[in-house]
């Protein structure tokens, strides 16, 4: 037996390798990817799997990220299951093919080992690359742990290839913090994943063949038809939300691990204030929430897993009646001087019952900086103060204090 075939075992793996096992278990037909830090070890692991004969996808070595995505668009049109991964400028270089994949409704799964964007140049962790493309039509799932990367890739295929969805899915994980940090990971057995993905086989999916040629990405489209495609894509995004909750429940029943679907609600039931996080800082924040709970503070946490489409309905439900919300953002929106999840939550506020909760934003962890328990404690304390009616800064650049 191969020395790297760890399926069915519990091992210590970093995020890239955990992700690679997720891909292996889903048996893609075509993989085309261009190496870029911090995603590279994921790709190397996939090549190792192929060299050891663990799986047999078509491995394409393109000259860049744009061609990688272009290759997968063709493979997907022919009915194939596809995978690629990228980071930072690689994602930017891929941009027009990235748009084509979503617009053409091709269920490609792509991992993003998230890294800061230029300029300044930085091979450092962040979320800016992935949040930049939030309205490019892809579904985006953000993960907290190495285990969640592996599991989310399996769930991503179930979601992407569902006949009610047919959209490409990003599985995003912070570079270095997750990509290069090792954790305990349970690697599912092949039969379990085969059974979990089996419903996709009976699904309705068009295939482009020589016998029945078709056009995709058609142009010279009349405006009514153009609008129709946009509307249908919007509806597919809306359908994907409840579908993702369903997939998570089914995953929990089969594998014994649940992540809450679109969002994870952590000790929120009787909470008066809520901390909102996305990505790997959630782990640290949960520790602080536990600590504050021991001190008698009624604080809970909401982790955004599905950033795109927006988990609006779930957020409204969990945030209703709360006194204050503190958002931790590892990304920046220049236009509004805040982070992206602050804008998202602010949009949801208008649908909440009065009196509205107070909303605070904390920009932290940019440029590969740690988000420590001390940072999160500050976030909790200031959010409590704001809930008590004290004056507060709506947006704080936490790392600059």
């Amino acid at each position: 037996m191969s020395s790297i075939d760890l399926r069915g075992q519990i091992r210590v793996l970093d995020g890239n390798r955990a992700g690679a096992y997720g891909v292996l278990l889903c048996k893609p037909d075509v993989i085309a990817s261009y190496p870029i830090t911090p995603q590279t070890p994921l790709l190397e692991t996939l090549y190792k799997f192929e060299a050891e004969g663990l799986f047999d996808p078509e491995m394409v070595e393109p000259e860049g990220e744009n061609s990688a995505m272009g290759t997968l668009i063709g493979a997907c049109a022919a009915g194939g299951r596809t995978f690629t991964a990228t980071s930072s400028q690689g994602l930017s270089f891929m941009n027009d093919a990235y748009l084509l994949a979503a617009g053409n409704r091709f269920p490609i799964v792509m991992a993003i080992g998230m890294r800061e964007q230029v300029s300044p140049h930085g091979v450092i962790s962040g979320q800016q690359d992935a949040v930049l493309v939030k309205d490019h039509g892809w579904i985006q799932i953000y993960t907290e742990s190495c285990q969640e990367i592996l599991d989310s890739i399996i769930m991503a295929y179930r979601l992407a290839e569902d006949e009610d969805v047919l959209l490409p899915v990003n599985v995003c994980y912070e570079g270095f913090y997750l990509s290069h940090h090792s954790q305990r990971v349970e690697i599912p057995r092949q039969e379990e994943v085969d059974a979990f993905l089996a419903p996709l086989k009976g699904m309705n999916r068009l295939k482009w063949t020589l016998e029945e040629p078709m056009v995709f990405s058609s142009y010279t489209v009349p405006p009514e038809l153009y609008t129709e495609y946009r509307y249908k894509m919007c509806m597919a995004h809306q359908r994907a939300k409840a579908k993702f909750d369903e997939i998570d429940r089914e995953f929990a029943a089969k594998f014994g691990r649940s992540y809450g679907g679109q969002i994870e609600e952590y000790r929120t039931e009787d909470a008066e204030i809520i901390i909102v996080t996305m990505g790997c800082s959630t782990g640290t924040a949960k520790v602080v929430v536990d600590r504050k709970r021991d001190e008698g503070v009624k604080v809970g946490l909401v982790k955004i897993r599905m950033f795109r489409p927006s988990p609006k309905e779930r957020l409204i439900k969990v945030l209703n009646g709360k006194k204050a919300i503190g958002v931790i953002d590892r990304n920046v929106c220049y236009a509004w001087n805040c982070g992206h999840n602050y804008i998202e939550i602010k949009t949801v506020l208008s649908d909440l019952d009065r009196p509205l909760p107070v909303l605070l934003d904390f920009i932290a962890g940019l440029g590969g900086a740690d988000i420590t328990d001390k940072h999160v404690e500050k976030v909790v304390e200031r959010t409590i103060d704001a809930a008590k009616g004290k004056t507060y800064e709506p947006v704080t650049w936490l790392s600059l204090e």
Binding site: N104, P213, L225
Partner: protein, 88 residues
Amino acid sequence: MKFMSKFEGPWSTPKEPLDIKTGEWRSQRPVTKREKCRQCGWCFIFCPAGCIEEKAHYFTADLDYCKGCGVCSNVCPAKAIMMIREEI
């Protein structure tokens, strides 16, 4: 909600939902001399619009889609295809 396409995405068969009659752009049209045609199929292979159809003893262009580029006439080894000006 009124939809024009039965497809979820911007996909189309050669006719549905995008049946663009590119033949309307034509200023000249190919005419096949049936007795000269050797049915080698070069016009079929080279036609950039993919609009050459095979008949019982010859090949001919579907004028709904032929843009009149003249490639078929150029490649025909039997010189069986002539281009004729379209007149209004």
